[in-house]
Amino acid sequence: MEAIAFYVFAISTVILFGITALSKNVLYAMTSLAAGMVMISGFFFLLGADFLGVVQLIVYVGAVMALYSFAMMFFDATKDIKEKHGNPALVFLLGGLMALVFVVIFSAPIIGENMEALYPIVDGVGNAQAVGMVLFTKYLVPFEVAAIMLLVAMIAGIILAGKKMDKSLTTTVIEENPEDEILKESR
């Protein structure tokens, strides 16, 4: 049962993220990214990290994708993106080599057997409770720093996006104000 779920989620995430990385349309890429993130939360539920799965659904699929879709309204998302690619063979060679290196790095913990759990999972307590107990004791300072970082990011986002908000982004044609015409004629 776990194997079936794993393979369904794995194949769908790889396909959806492949569309994200290769598609020419911004809308298709964004939609497949959101769907792939839903599938990734399935992995977290499989791994017993229920709270992480819910956070993944709320933060990534809810907040981040909403932010992306709002930002997409600033840009022209309807037409396909033309990208000039210089040397595809070099990109594939570099990507393949890096993939090999990353697989080796990620597989390395299988060899290290002498690791011990620093904060072991407590028995008889739900995942959300266990996460809360560790987060508000051992990881309290990083938690507060993350909160300040999110506040700074929010202010930075407001200031950066709010500059020259009176100018329109998509309409490049300078529109004549009809009232000016009337004023000119009356003079």
Binding site: T20, Y119, V131, A153, A161
Partner: protein, 100 residues
């Protein structure tokens, strides 16, 4: 039986998909999507290793990765809007001003 190696290999595959996207993308918005794919792949690896060792630290680090990703998106999209106002395009070949 699904072991930790399955999850780690899947995470490696997803990370290389995202990395390939970062290498070949010329549009900045699409490049952001590729970085999101990479961050998600790392989160899977964290959760899998944490589950394997019966340790909650993996999940904790995944939480902080999600927090960093959220703030990265907020600042990055603000910068993208500023760039789009300045150049009228998000293509890296148009935006690049340094030759070399």
């Amino acid at each position: 039986m699904i072991g930790i190696s399955h999850y780690l290999i899947l995470s490696g595959i997803l990370f290389s998909i995202g990395f390939m996207g970062v290498l070949r993308r010329k549009n900045l918005l699409m490049l952001f999507f590729a970085t999101e794919v990479m961050l998600n792949a790392v989160n899977i690896a964290f959760a899998a290793i944490g589950n394997y060792y019966g340790d909650l630290s993996g999940q904790m680090f995944a939480f902080f990765v999600i927090a960093v990703a959220a703030s990265e998106v907020a600042v990055g999209l603000g910068l993208l809007i500023v760039l789009y106002k300045k150049y009228g395009s998000l293509d890296l070949d148009v935006i690049a001003t340094m030759k070399g």
